[in-house]
Point group: C2
Chain length 86, copies 2
């Protein structure tokens, strides 16, 4: 595997620094990190007694839920496309 | 808001029990929880020194990343559909 394009990006999420290694652009990594940070703060404000580990797990739960919803939508769109293409 | 359909589902994720409240079916909630649990265990096996809070945050990061990738794909599919529909 050529990993010339591996980037290392340091981001702050909910007061902690994480180094994200991957092939994505640093702006994509920063966008993802800011979305996770925002979601954690939302969940924390609605559940002030949860510790940060549980807040992070619930953030992951919400994100996987949203992912599955988009996946269902993609299946419908692909079905529609295939019909139109005959 | 009518919330007759609110469900409360207790799930186990990475050794902790969470009660998820929402309008989704309990089987959907269980699927999401098992995906989060699996991802956390994957990340943990690759990074054995991370604590559970950081593992959960990185799981959320991966999930939001996957979500954004699907969103890009939906935009492309919708564009293609609109072209075909004229």
């Amino acid at each position: 595997m050529i990993d010339d394009q591996k980037t290392r990006v340091a981001v702050d999420i909910y007061g902690q620094t994480y180094t994200i290694v991957g092939s994505e652009t640093s702006s994509h990594v920063r966008l993802v990190a800011s979305m996770v940070d925002e979601r954690m703060r939302e969940i924390s404000s609605r559940n002030p007694y949860l510790d940060s580990s549980k807040i992070a797990v619930l953030t992951a739960v919400n994100s996987v839920h949203d992912y599955l919803k988009l996946k269902e939508r993609i299946e419908l769109l692909e079905e529609e496309l295939n019909k139109l293409k005959g």
